[in-house]
Amino acid sequence: MAIMRNSDIAISIKNLSKFYGSFQALKDISFDVERGSFFGFLGPNGAGKTTTINVLTGLSNYSSGSVDVFGFGVTSEYQKTRPLIGLCAQEFNFDPFLSLEQMLVYQAGYFGISEPQAKRRANELLDRFQLSEKKSVKYRALSGGMKKRLLLCRALIHDPEILILDEPTAGCDLELRFLIWDYLAELNKEGKTIFLTTHYMEEAEKLCKTIGIIHNGEIVQIGEKEKVMKEKTLQDVFLELTNYREKIC
């Protein structure tokens, strides 16, 4: 059972700023993500999406502001926030020495899950993502789509409350994309909070309940999907708020 201080707000970001040297990647951004929400975090390349994710997961330090996960500070109480988050990163960053099953079992172990339980959970996930036959091989033997699925398995191995997905379907074929969409929708229905970044507007439009758009390190739009779209397509809204903005500047 996950421990939470605030069970309504999954993610709370207040006045968050992040500098890389003199470059300000995040400019005083603030927003909340409610528990059980399917939140789409959109923005062009370099807008600050991955930086925000890295701050949330503790992979990046931040310059000022506060970032809470279910009421716990991600820096001061990182041992409480990390079990609540599962990250499906953009890159294939797997241990080359381990088989798929070993990798998942060790990963579960880091979260305090006993080995028998970890093995059971790993096999369930490998089965769910059609990777069971490959469980004894090392990740280099997998195709691109399989590696994407493995990223998802690893993010879910400790059954986190929040699943953060950084472009999970980039480079996937249609079949895999639909498989991932169905699984994410199912997870969200079960009550998981999902924080998704994507460049596919139809993906965000189909899956997300709330949308945030970030541009040049600033939140330019946030709210329920219908209110953000205002009878337009999400793509039109996105282009208006990002590319179009740049043109007039």
């Binding site: 890389y20 890295n54 997961t57 503790g58 992979l59 990046s60 330090n61 990182y78 041992q79 409480k80 990390r82 079990p83 988050i85 990250l87 990163a89 890159e91 960053n93 797997f94 241990d95 080359p96 020495f97 381990l98 070993q102 990798m103 079992v105 060790y106 990963q107 579960a108 172990g109 880091y110 979260f111 305090g112 899950i113 006993s114 690893r154």
Partner: protein, 257 residues
């Protein structure tokens, strides 16, 4: 509490051990083969010309603790530095950084993995050495102390190098230009009285000198230093290196952007 996630640490240790066992031909056996060569060439061939009869020991017995120390240093350093650096290089360090392991626990996990490798290597070197030169161990508990404390120091040194290094060239630099020369100059193969008198002062500034001689005292009961000095230097080094490594993990030095 210092350890809040014992299952997590155990998983990290298992992964570390699994990593070096999966490449045992590179990690476990070469030090044993090179030790046999050192014993044959220095101990059996050249050693006959070195007279240590004043101390009542043979030259081959003299170099055995030196070889144990040298292998404890290199195996623990190489294990920790390569493990952490490769995980930074492939970025699968994120698997650990995203977990609820505390920074203390992360360092401890990597350290214990290197310690296990070092203990396997040094025990192997000792076993091989004893077949060439059977002898009783003078102070077995003290030997265990040095077999543990030396890898603690150099596992941390390996982690520090792995954090600092940006490429493989930088990673090997510390070992090539600092650790190996200091180890050899620290008395692995020679007693201090064989060094010209004007250089002995510099030898005494070398921390490896205390580690080699501490191990030598524990194994053969003879050394060039007071054993308490060796214990004090090794303990102080281990504490400083460990705390520095935990601190760098905590601030995310080259681990977090």
């Amino acid at each position: 509490m210092l350890i809040s996630n014992p299952t997590g640490i155990l998983a990290l240790i298992k992964r570390e051990v699994m990593r070096f066992l999966s490449v045992a031909t590179q990690t476990l056996f070469p030090p044993m083969i090179s030790s046999i060569l050192f014993i044959c060439i220095f101990g059996l061939a050249l050693g006959k010309r070195i007279d240590l009869s004043e101390s009542g020991i043979t030259y081959i017995a003299f170099i055995i603790p030196g070889l144990m120390t040298m292998n404890a240093i290199t195996s623990s350093y190489e294990n920790a530095s390569s493990s952490l650096f490769i995980s930074r290089w492939h970025n699968h360090i994120q698997e650990v950084l995203l977990s609820p392991l505390s920074y203390f626990e992360m360092v401890l996990g990597i350290l214990v993995g290197s310690l296990v490798r070092s203990l396997l290597v040094v025990s192997g070197v000792l076993a091989i050495s004893l077949t060439f030169n059977p002898m009783p161990i003078a102070h077995p508990f003290l030997m265990i102390y040095f077999m543990v404390i030396i890898p603690i120091i150099f596992s941390c040194a390996g982690m520090l190098a792995a954090l600092w290094a940006e490429d493989f060239n930088m990673l090997t630099m510390w070992n090539t230009y600092l650790i190996m020369p200091l180890t050899f100059l620290g008395g692995v193969f020679h007693p201090i009285h064989l060094i010209p008198a004007q250089f002995r002062f510099f030898t005494k500034l070398n921390p490896m000198y205390y580690l080699v001689n501490g191990m030598r005292h524990s194994v053969i009961g003879v050394s060039d230093t007071q054993v308490m000095h060796s214990i004090a230097v090794s303990l102080a080094l281990a504490i400083v290196m460990f705390l520095t490594t935990v601190y760098l993990f905590r601030i995310g030095y080259k681990l977090r952007t």
